[in-house]
Amino acid sequence: MAGSNLVAQIILNGLMAASIYILVALGLTLVLSMTGIVQLAHGEIYMLGAYGTYFFCVVLGLHYLLALVISTLIIGLVGVPLEKIFFRPFRGRDFMPSVIIAVGIMIMLQTTAIVNFGSSIKVVTTPFRGVMTIAGAIVSWERLLVIAISAIFVGGLFLLLRRTKMGLGMLALSQDIRGAALQGISADRVSSVAMFLGCSLAAVAGGLMGAIFNLSPSMGGYALMKGIAVIILGGMGSLAGVVLGGLILGFIDGIVPPLLSVHMANLIGFICIILILIFRPQGIMGRPS
Amino acid sequence: MLHIKGLTKYFGGLSAVNELDFTVNQEEAVGLIGPNGAGKTTTFNLITGFLRATKGTILFEGRNLVREKPHSIAKMGIVRTFQATSIFPGFTVLQSLVAASYLDPRIGFWEAALHRSSSRRKEKDILDQAHEILKFVSMEQMKDLLASKLPHGHKRILGIAIALAAHPKLLLLDEPLSGMNSSEVASTLDLINKIWHRGTTILLIEHNMKAAMGFCKRIVVLNFGQKIAEGSPKEIRENKNVIQAYLGVGDHAA
């Protein structure tokens, strides 16, 4: 009984971590490959998602899921003028100013969080307390929720990209196909949509994570690192690769700590990435440069 | 000098170049022609190491180039120009040639860093050399102009001059005449002729049929990555396969 419980916990933790990593990395890769922005503020968007959910849920008293959705939508929408004002003028040109601007925004967002919410740690409690049993193992609702919502978002994203005209246009543009422009796909609109999606993904990830762990203004840095690691591992410019990379890293971080230690988890993840870089620098499913 | 045997390059499932065999002998002027997408630039990329061949060998003066890096191949004496204009946009014309002349390994890194007098002398040699090349290509007047501000035709000539500064034994020219008007074409052909007369072996890709046929002594024709004909310009002009290849492409004549 205890054994299968432990196994279930481990798998669940792995899936949960993977879900969050995938959400963050997908958002980052969308923005990177479709808007050309080096979105170093992506971690801060994630952090804002967490704080936004906290605000609507804890401060305003809304239901957690409602708070999550509202926060995600708002932040996703906020990303659109952000892209338009701060990054679009630099698109295609020297990318350096846009990197600096992203960092500037990153700094300002972090400061906003600190100023508005204080630098102490915050807690978000969800109404999904409690546990249920699956196949004789005890699993927590919250973790299941994270996995479920992530799956919905990821699935929705893939549908959007593969089935809608806008989505296909975005894919075409991200692969630099010249024909994309000829087919009347507007790079501007693609940028806006990609930014909206990218920020939404980060925000929902933050909102979900905030329920499991605590919030702090510096939580964004961690998310950015993980997002980058997933992209490096899974493949630059490949969405399926990101999912794969997220699963791998998520499971490493879910499985290894209880069995060995958090240190070993980090180390193993690190070794995987180094190996990938040496033998296949473009990532598992990335396209060779 | 250059022996290509069984050269093949696959991109995914598609073969851009397939079992290509041909030779370029010393001091020859060979033309490589073919319809768009025939694999001519790919062949250049393979020869110069910018692409790794899937199969086959490329022998240059006895050495197989297939696994070599482009800079090593360049040091062996094969220098190329690029189809898209390739210059150093931020350099002036003179600076471009000086930079290119540093292929000469005679100045040690530390020598130059410490500006010793021996290095200063060699730097003077390089400067002289650069001036010489400028004179050779008739661009002396423009030596202080910014490369990016040159008119198109002169940019292409600069590209050739940069290649010359690397002391090529075999010069690969990728559509040197593209985008030029007739007087520029004439003067560029003149220049290429001069280079050839100096003893440099030339392999030329060109869409301008008249120019290619007029200048090259031997032509190799590619289509769909394979050699479909080889011979003198006259032979090629009358070769049925060649005519087919050019006319049979889509609905429009070449």
């Binding site: 300002m108 | 690029f82 150093f88 931020g90 350099f91 540093y102």
Partner: protein, 320 residues
């Protein structure tokens, strides 16, 4: 050489001024700011070198951490002389650059930058996790100041005071800048510029672009490591997160906001942007807004950086 006749005396005057600063700046905190500015100048200028050699490293903070820990460990655990430790910290940076340089160079543009971020993060993780050696999150403390330089009968320079550290930093900064400038003007500098202008053209005429970039990365990392070693001996305490991602970002900001094109740019950027938060200190929590705001504003108005300000003013006056 008209310009030379102006700039050389100007530089000498500036250097003289820098040496005389401790005569009228005596506050410990002010001297601290100056030392940190000096370190920032070295880091930013070395980042510029890497950038000029063709790739952008966002891991200078990581190299600095590496240098700091190398120096600290050599002194506290092995009892080596601080000067040797300082040299070792620089060498450590260069060595790591060499080790990861070739595999990293295969990545293009922004992916290279991402990987350097990751490398810095790995350095931080190792510093944090390898408790037995590095003391974990608490870091290493009680790192001694540099050993005294003594020639019996002539002089004895000890480094206990902030003023002495200021001079040490100043000298190291000046030497570093000299070296960086010389490199930029040398043949290898020309090679770097060619590679940056067009790396496949450079490759086609025989320049080993990969090695050229790796060399740039190594040298830049050398100076970052040196800065780290200096810091460890200055601050006597180092922690794994002292110079993480955020700091690498700051160094990048200093360089770009100062102006990436000229040698002066990074120096200007480092100085002004280190002083700015100090000046805005009264604003307390809102200070980062000023910093972020200035940075963004400069990027919009002066994409070429602060260095390009004189040119911009001139074009405005000429009425285009």
């Amino acid at each position: 050489m008209d310009r030379r006749e102006i700039t050389i005396p100007l530089n000498c005057a500036l250097i003289l001024f820098l040496f005389l600063i401790p005569l009228f700046v005596t506050g410990a905190y002010q001297l601290h700011v100056l030392v940190m500015t000096g370190i920032a100048v070295v880091l930013t200028s070395s980042l510029r070198l890497i950038f000029n050699s063709g790739q952008l490293s966002l891991g200078q903070g990581g190299m600095m951490t590496l240098g700091a820990y190398t120096s600290a460990l050599l002194v506290t655990k092995l009892g080596l002389s601080t000067w040797i430790a300082l040299g070792a910290s620089a060498a450590a940076g260069a060595l790591l650059g060499l080790l990861v340089g070739y595999p990293f160079m295969r990545l293009k543009g922004i992916y290279f930058s991402l990987v350097t971020v990751f490398m810095a993060e790995v350095i931080r993780l190792i510093a944090e996790q390898w408790r037995s050696v590095t003391g974990g999150t608490l870091g290493i403390s009680n790192i001694p100041a540099p050993d005294a330089i003594a020639i019996p009968g002539l002089f004895n320079i000890s480094f206990g005071s902030k003023v002495s550290f200021y001079y040490l930093t100043l000298i190291l900064v000046l030497l570093s800048l000299l070296a960086l400038y010389a490199l930029e003007r040398s043949r290898i500098g020309l090679t770097w510029f060619s590679v940056r202008e067009s790396d496949f053209l450079s490759e086609s005429i025989g320049i080993d672009t990969a090695s050229s970039k790796v060399l740039g990365f190594c040298i830049g990392s050398f100076f970052a490591g040196l800065a780290g070693g200096l810091y460890s001996q200055y601050n006597s305490v180092i922690t794994p997160s002292g110079f993480g991602f955020i700091y690498s970002m700051y160094v990048l900001i200093y360089m770009i906001v100062g102006g990436g094109q000229s040698f002066l740019g990074p120096i200007l950027g480092a100085v002004i942007l280190t002083f700015l938060p100090e000046v805005a200190r009264p604003l307390k929590a809102y200070q980062p807004y000023i910093f972020g705001g200035v940075v963004i504003l400069v990027m919009f108005l002066l994409p070429g950086g602060l260095v390009s300000l004189p040119q911009r003013i001139m074009t405005l006056f000429k009425g285009r």
